[in-house]
């Protein structure tokens, strides 16, 4: 891992920024930090010594031991999805994004929730140097607080993913 650091945040940007868009925001649009892109850099679970997990992740029960054995975090920026059991991880309702807990809960037959698996989204990025607190906070706002990607003219369409709400089939 060298001097690289892994930052893990809860959820994904509600602005729709995808990994490339978030990277563009950090490295170009807002010039917040320099990310690590060297192909030989591949952060794995063995590199937990230089990992910063957001308070929101920790409040949701997502800490370092939570990740799979031999999990691979790569480099650059990744927006990842996995399934977790609510009862094991006590994942907070806030992770369910724009549809909200009430809508999400309607998916299940009464009596089965909250024992079902559900999708957990995590955004992580690998930097070359530690993020100053103000920079960390701005990155966290972009990912966890739904801060808009501004100015919009600084971004291309390819920097965004479509945000879709779950609809009953």
């Amino acid at each position: 891992m060298g001097d690289n650091l892994l930052y893990v945040f809860a959820g994904f940007p509600r602005s729709g920024l995808n990994a490339g868009g978030l990277q563009h925001a950090i490295e170009r649009a807002e010039e917040l930090a320099i990310l690590e892109h060297k192909p030989e850099i591949r952060i794995t679970k063995e590199d937990h010594g230089r990992v910063i997990i957001s308070d929101r992740c920790k409040a949701d029960g997502i800490d370092w031991p939570w990740f799979l054995e031999r999990a691979a975090f790569g480099n650059g920026v990744t927006i990842h999805g996995t399934e977790a059991r609510y009862s094991d991880n006590e994942v907070a309702h806030d992770l369910f994004g724009p549809e909200g807990w009430a809508e999400y809960e309607k998916r299940w037959t009464p009596g089965t929730c909250p024992q079902e698996d559900h999708v957990v989204h995590l955004t992580w990025l690998i930097t070359r140097t530690p993020l100053p607190s103000a920079v960390y906070e701005r990155v966290r706002e972009l990912i966890e607080e739904g801060a808009p990607a501004e100015p919009r003219g600084a971004y291309e369409d390819k920097h965004f993913s479509e945000i879709r709400q779950w609809r009953a089939p």
């Binding site: 920026v77 990744t78 989204h121």
Partner: protein, 218 residues
């Protein structure tokens, strides 16, 4: 989401068309007991398991993306218990953005064992090195895993499409591409992880609307 196929078929017409008395192990039963089969209630004489029953084991209907130039876990299903002899089906959509003249690939980990570590020209999905947005739709099967049968991914055609036009991005390859990193584990599948990699950090690789299904074997 799990699709449940009713185990007991209701309706006398169905039963009348599907059975002969000689096929029943209860052929010494009385006519009254055989008549019970025509209603929808459970009986101890026999019950049907619908053939071709399919269960959605998991998947993801949110786009997940990466700019990593080394293999990264992109999307995971981690609460599985699928027997080694259970055949599977995967339906997957993916795309890469423009940004650099380089490729992108998607690989696979089973139970934390990488069966296809994505790399240049290696993976379940592979894009061209042209600097353009491309997309792929892939459906493939994974057969039973057992001794002497450890490379179970069925063949399929890989042909990225240029996102702006729909034209074929390159010649057709047969997937999966390249050499298996490891054989499939011959134990129950507990986690199924799509890995991703891009050749240049200016490219974004995405997976979306992917689903893992298992098929009943009896």
């Amino acid at each position: 989401m799990t699709e449940i196929i009713p185990r007991i078929h209701a309706g006398s017409a169905h039963h009348a068309g599907s059975h002969k008395a000689a096929n029943h192990s209860d052929q010494l039963a009385t006519g009254a007991e055989l008549t019970e089969l025509t209603d929808s209630s459970e009986t101890t004489l026999h019950s049907h398991v619908a053939s071709g029953a399919v269960t959605r084991e998991g998947g993801d209907t949110t786009e997940h993306t990466t700019t990593s130039t080394s293999a990264v876990d992109l999307s995971s299903i981690t609460s599985l218990n699928i027997g080694a002899l259970v055949p599977l089906h995967v339906s997957l959509r993916s795309r890469k953005t423009s940004g650099a003249a380089d490729d992108a690939d998607i690989g696979l980990k089973i139970n934390s064992t990488s069966v296809f570590t994505p790399a240049t020209n290696v993976g379940l999905l592979h894009y061209t090195t042209n600097n353009q947005a491309e997309e792929l739709a892939v459906d493939f099967g994974i057969g039973a895993r057992l001794t002497n049968y450890t490379f179970p991914i069925s063949s399929y055609r890989l042909r990225p499409r240029i996102s702006s036009s729909g034209a074929a991005a390159s010649g057709t390859d047969d997937g999966p591409l390249g050499t298996y990193t490891n054989t499939f584990p011959l134990v129950a599948i507990t986690s199924f992880i799509l890995e991703g990699i891009v050749g240049n950090g200016s490219i974004t690789l995405a997976v979306d609307e992917w689903h893992l299904y298992s098929r009943a074997v009896s």
